[in-house]
Symmetry: C2
Subunit: 267 residues, 2 copies
Amino acid sequence: MPPNYKIGIFDSGLGGLTVLKSIKKSFPIHSFIYLGDLANLPYGDKSQDSIIVYSKKIVDFFIQQNIQLIIVACNSASSVALKSLQSIYSIPIIGVIRPSIKTALKNTQTKSIGIIGTETTVNSQAYNNELKHLTNNSHEYRISSVSCPLFVPIVEEGWENTEIAHQIATKYLSNFKDKNIDTIILGCTHYPILLKILKIVFNQLGYYDLNYIECGDAITNQIKKLDLNVFQQPSDQFYITDTSRKFNKLANKFLGYKIPAINVISV
Amino acid sequence: MPPNYKIGIFDSGLGGLTVLKSIKKSFPIHSFIYLGDLANLPYGDKSQDSIIVYSKKIVDFFIQQNIQLIIVACNSASSVALKSLQSIYSIPIIGVIRPSIKTALKNTQTKSIGIIGTETTVNSQAYNNELKHLTNNSHEYRISSVSCPLFVPIVEEGWENTEIAHQIATKYLSNFKDKNIDTIILGCTHYPILLKILKIVFNQLGYYDLNYIECGDAITNQIKKLDLNVFQQPSDQFYITDTSRKFNKLANKFLGYKIPAINVISV
């Protein structure tokens, strides 16, 4: 029997499950392995060197599992570790930043793009750097980035549809006033859960026809270009590197369906 | 020259600096070593086994530094690792939970005590268990615990005196309505930064004469009973196990003065 090639997706926590959810919609007959590196979360507060060490261990683990494609579903790891990983391993490895920027470039008419993310992601300038890399003349484009540190805890508290979430979103997103953006990149894998309130607030700010870019959808477009093998019945596996009540509580909400079994491992 | 005995304080992040601040007020001529285990933060999301491993490494590091007393300024480590540490090491080790409960028991008249903390701390039932341990008849007492996961990010965002903080505090603290508490334990080392807004909201809820218990003050009372050596001019040292923009940005606010130098180490 030929091996059952899989797509490996990892994140420091459970946010990457929203990416898996998006990708699975377009690739329902593929098998996935998800790894949440809970023992080392959150990557956003760790140094570049630490994140590279964590990521390498996970890639090595994936390679042992007959992985044919790896998705780094974590903004911090994508911005600081992806290049190192791609230079070491021959297996295709996709991060969340380039696909989102590519999709934004395809969609924007005003050439003014908004980005929301965690403080670490925004400070890293990873999206700005990728834009420079992908365009001949990055000065044509205007990027406005706003860090929204309260968004992740709001989602994890289950308050995404409350008046408090509305006020916090209004406080953050008001920074986009008069920026004439037509495209907003959701630069954190928790943010798709907030999409409804983001749309309400952006509408109130006069942004009625924004392109909302989720990295899961953006990555899906990129994967479609790859020639992936499907051999067996799809079967997904879920691993975490430490136990967590929060993961158990929120995973189904992020993924959109119940995870059959979660395995705790060391990598 | 005799060694310069020091007091070691550790936390997973910077919250423990509020504990150091409180203790230093009463022990200005003592020397302190602070260690923020940023490489492994937040402990609250880690398993008991992991937290014990981290804590042991830190205690070993402290012992090499002529430490005469160790303060575990972290609720998660105090609740799940303190007993293991105390059974292994002969050096005195104090956590944050017992001193707070002791102070609460001394202060309460209504025998109804409130506790606010992170989700992990509240779920751990560590304060309830300590109360049972310290009293012959714990049924005399009523403990009401409320987890407040948004408080830490609110503090880290610098929003502690905003209308949003007020609303979030109101949402959480309304759970204490009709509980007849006269004592509230701030069960997280970030919360002293929120003291002003907590007092406003508790006043609005009709709690005008609450005893606010910060673990730093509670620990200070316990240390006073120990016979600590002072040999040299006091000099404090600050260590972190990973670099962090957030630590640099917020440390002075938590500590109340500028940290002269921060050393990054592995333990």
